[in-house]
Symmetry: C2
Subunit: 230 residues, 2 copies
DNA sequence: GGACACATGTAACGGGTTACATGATTTC
DNA sequence: GAAATCATGTAACCCGTTACATGTGTCC
């Protein structure tokens, strides 16, 4: 059944963008441009390229630098077919894994400092994206980027990652403010602040979902024994 | 060395929030609230709880519903220690994995329709978050949520996921507009539009990074043989 | 000529997924 | 009483990570 891992497809995709790639260049591309939305250990690349070679999807040229081996890969026609077959298949869902957020959700079990440390981590993650982004943006704007001919899609990527990182950062700031506000304040006060936060976030929802919530709220209020006017 | 997987810690954290949990309730909690930032297969939960029981971090009570077994877990003092030890450790970085975005980056290898299909997937991912969010928000606002006493942290989570989903959606819309604009337009026109997009995104960057880019740009322009005035 | 980044891998392990199987309960 | 859904698992497999090993150019 072949279980074409998206890793193989991603490497094939890179191979399709340029004539020749050494494994090192592939790992560089990985570290530089792909890691923020497609994170993989570099060792993975070495194995994946080997497998692509073995399956005839990439041709390999082995050379030597001193005593150390070096392999250069190129995509084959069969490899190009494979890429196109992949692109014709339905995309996989987006996956986010955020351990710091898990810590925030469970932060009642720890200290406020620990929660803030989690927020700091998120800010650091965001910062890392923006720092790399700034460098890459500079290259594309001056026209000196390696894949300058791909600037039209790379700009979309830059937009995505920037939005993502700025969202992370802004959220972390809001959350820190809230967490600091919580310390020493009574439960009902916290709850009120929390509800305000929920209502604020809800305000940005698309109209259909927003009305679904408000009507559900009205109904809940209506069925109460003591319906309190708003 | 124990390699405490964050999965075990997350389950322990849930166990710490309430007296008793059946495995099914844990998986429900997973599907409902955690899956968007800590995605795990449900089968994982069954194994993880078993391991927690075996290590003495959770106590287990086995019962039967008809002929089918059912296990209820509670956290032990040792388990609580473990959670606190985890919370005292440094958080792990945030990880995003977005295959549709990879497809957009490689969309020169496919058709515009395929790129739009990738954007649709991202919009669907965002929509899924918002839909669950709307329901949960309603519960917390009416005060009927199961973890109402956790509303102060759940509100932070709600804010996070809402921001994330809205960011995804808004980006997908922008990207689709761009991709539609690209079809049939010459390379230099695309490149110009792309640079505008980059500059727009860059405008929202924190000041220090922005100035780093602009000075790098100025330098690049200065070292050119034909320095073109802006 | 030692340190450090660049470059190329290998080996071992484990967390996590997919797919399957099956019992109980509700719905019509 | 069949279908659908809720509930509880098991088995097999593999993708991916961590950790290690080692060579090569360069900087001081």
């Amino acid at each position: 059944m072949a279980r074409t891992s998206t890793t193989a497809n991603a490497v094939l995709g890179l191979l399709a963008l340029r004539e020749e790639w050494s494994t090192w260049e592939l790992t560089k591309q990985l570290r530089r441009n792909l890691r923020f939305f497609w994170p993989r250990a570099e060792s993975r690349i070495y194995e994946e390229t080997r497998r692509l070679g073995a399956k005839g999807l990439a041709s390999t040229v082995r050379s030597f630098v001193g005593r150390r081996g070096r392999t250069v890969y190129s995509i084959t026609p069969a490899g190009l077919d494979e890429v196109r077959r992949w692109l014709a298949m339905p995309p996989k869902p987006t996956a986010l894994e955020c351990e710091p957020l898990l810590r925030v959700v469970l932060s009642d079990l720890g200290t406020a400092e620990q929660a803030v440390a989690a927020l700091d981590q998120i800010r650091a993650d965001a910062r890392a994206i923006l720092e790399v982004g700034a460098v890459v943006a500079g290259e594309y704007l001056t026209g000196s980027a390696e894949f300058q001919d791909q600037v039209h899609v790379r700009a979309l990527l830059f937009d995505f990652l920037s939005s993502f990182a700025l969202m992370l950062s802004a959220w972390a700031d809001r959350a820190e403010e809230r967490i600091n506000g919580y310390v020493g304040s009574p439960q009902d006060e916290r709850e009120e602040a929390a509800k305000v936060m929920i209502r604020n976030a809800l305000a940005a929802y698309p109209a259909d979902l927003k009305t679904a919530v408000t009507s559900a709220l009205a109904e809940a209020r209506g069925s109460e024994s003591s319906p309190e006017p708003d």
